[in-house]
Amino acid sequence: MEYVYSILILVGIYIVLASSFNLIIGTAGLVSIAHPIFFALGAYTAGVLAIHLHLDPFSATAAGAAVAGAFSLMISLPSLRVSGDYLLITSIGFQLGLLQVIKNLELTGSQGGLNNIPTPVAGPERGWIFSAIALAAAAAAVLLIRRIVRGSYGRAIRAMRDDELAFVALGRNAKHIKIVIFAVGCALAGVAGAIYAFYFQYVSPEQFEILASGTMLTMVVVGGMGSTWGPVVGAVLLLALPQAITFLRLPLAYMAPLQGMIFTLLVILFLFLRPQGLVAPEPPAPLSPPAR
């Protein structure tokens, strides 16, 4: 039963990660590869605060989100000053550089990772309580993003993607929008990280390598970039697939790369055969003239 719960929790976490990544690359069109590192920032911040300051999980999670959001500014502010392309390079450098720092810092447990993160809930209820939390977080994230993407703000984002120059020449602050969306997306990844840290109680640097971005890209591209439910489908798919491969009973040394191969191959196939993904973005309801 514990196994089922851990799957549900992972589903919840992955949905938050996929939806927030989709917000950044699918909706806002920002090319960034650094999502795993914000997941890591949330996890490590929450873990370190829980271990050293005995902070309660809610504050620790909020801190994780805040730290992730704040660090996102370190990437977006300098690179968006120049041009959209730079965000990509900066995000790669940031991802790898920060990972180096984490691997070498005593505070974060160095290469061995952060162990013995105190769990707020112990005992037999642990499984379903955390499942509820994770799935609630997933629902909240999806709805929050939906709210951003529809309505006035979403309209501004769409116009920005249609023609950024005309958008800016009308008085709209495109840079500000990009920075905010990026921060929101990264903060959500931080929340996912905190939940992960509190349930699994162990965080290690290997989980956040740049290849982890391949997992997230798969969820978004295969699920459907720019759509609300696409990332949800992508996240569920990504968790179902490894379970399917487990049945092949291959040795672990083959399982991990095989999994990676299947995921990346899926992305490539979808990129060429069905670029809109499994769930195409639903066109938003156009603004209707006010009733007279």
């Binding site: 590869i33 300098p78 550089g97 070498n104 991990a256 990346t264 490539i268």
Partner: protein, 298 residues
């Protein structure tokens, strides 16, 4: 007190080590210049080059020359397939830069996973023996590998410079890099030029991986890190300047080598990223001393 002999030794060894970085950077910068593409699939190219040569040497037991030729052939085949089947389709669809980015990165990741499946994660050098015979020259240790590295890199750079300046295809590459539409008006076939660019990049990648692999035990995910160095050097040298990128690669390598004197080795890797940040913040179009040096050398 710093011993001048140590400083010179670090310089020489650092210069030799910069050789493969220079080659990777030139490959990356050239593709960026001509195709306006950030070719994150280069890591995949590098991995294929290494493991093809590795298999030829250690599994088929071929002589070195044949192994290198095999490595080059495999890299060329994979790269051209990538360009013809992949990039051309995306270009025809006028795909966004996001899709190009995802495609190139995922190709590298797919390659890394596939090679991990085939070769495992045990670090392995190209040849069983990675130590190269060394002799002392004026108090500095100079190994055969050092000489090969510096010589091969210099030769390839000279060849490329000559190629770009004197041959028709080379001139076409420069024209297309300036403006593909304008070049098309003059009858220059952009597709062919792109293919030629990738072929040259393959050669540089193969040479670089030969040098790197004959000295370091490699794993399938190593090329991603190496490629990042090339990306930073390309940025530093000014996008659109292959020479700038090469100079930046040498500079960064020497910086990393000398940094050993001042910071603990575990933090050495971080220097690169600090530099990346400094570049993006203050020199987004490339570092000015590089621009000056480039102009001076023209």
């Amino acid at each position: 007190m710093l011993d001048p002999a140590v400083l010179v030794q670090i310089f020489w060894t650092g210069l030799a080590t910069s050789s493969y970085m220079v080659l990777f950077t030139i490959a990356f910068a050239l593709v960026l210049k001509v195709l306006k593409l950030w070719n994150f699939a280069q890591a995949g190219m590098m991995a294929i080059a290494f493991y093809a040569m590795y298999a030829a040497v250690n599994q088929f037991h071929w002589p070195t020359a044949a192994a290198v030729a095999f490595g080059l052939a495999m890299t060329l085949a994979a790269t051209l397939a990538f360009e013809v089947l992949g990039l051309r389709t995306l270009r025809a669809r006028r795909s966004s830069s996001l899709l190009f980015f995802i495609f190139t990165l995922v190709c590298s990741e797919f390659t890394a996973y596939t090679l991990t499946l085939i070769f495992g994660t045990e670090p392995a050098p190209l040849f069983p023996e990675i130590l190269s015979p060394t002799r002392m020259v004026a108090g500095i240790a100079v190994s055969n590998w050092d000489l090969l590295a510096v010589g091969l890199t210099a030769a390839l750079c000279a060849a490329l410079a000559l190629y770009l300046r004197t041959t028709r295809d080379g001139q076409f590459m420069l024209a297309v890099s300036d403006s593909a539409e304008l070049a098309a008006l003059y009858g220059i076939n952009a597709r062919r030029t792109y293919a030629v660019t990738f072929a040259i990049a393959s050669v540089f990648v193969c040479a670089g991986m030969y040098l790197y692999g004959s000295r370091t035990a490699t794993i399938p995910t190593a090329p991603l890190q190496l490629m990042l160095f090339a990306v930073i050097a390309t940025l530093l040298g000014g996008m659109g300047s292959v020479l700038g990128g090469a100079l930046a690669a040498v500079f960064l390598s020497l910086l990393q080598s000398y940094s050993v004197l001042v910071i603990p080795s575990q933090w050495q890797g971080l220097i690169l990223y600090v530099f990346l940040f400094v570049t993006i913040l203050f020199f987004p179009t490339g570092m000015h001393p590089m621009t000056l040096l480039r102009r001076a050398l023209r």
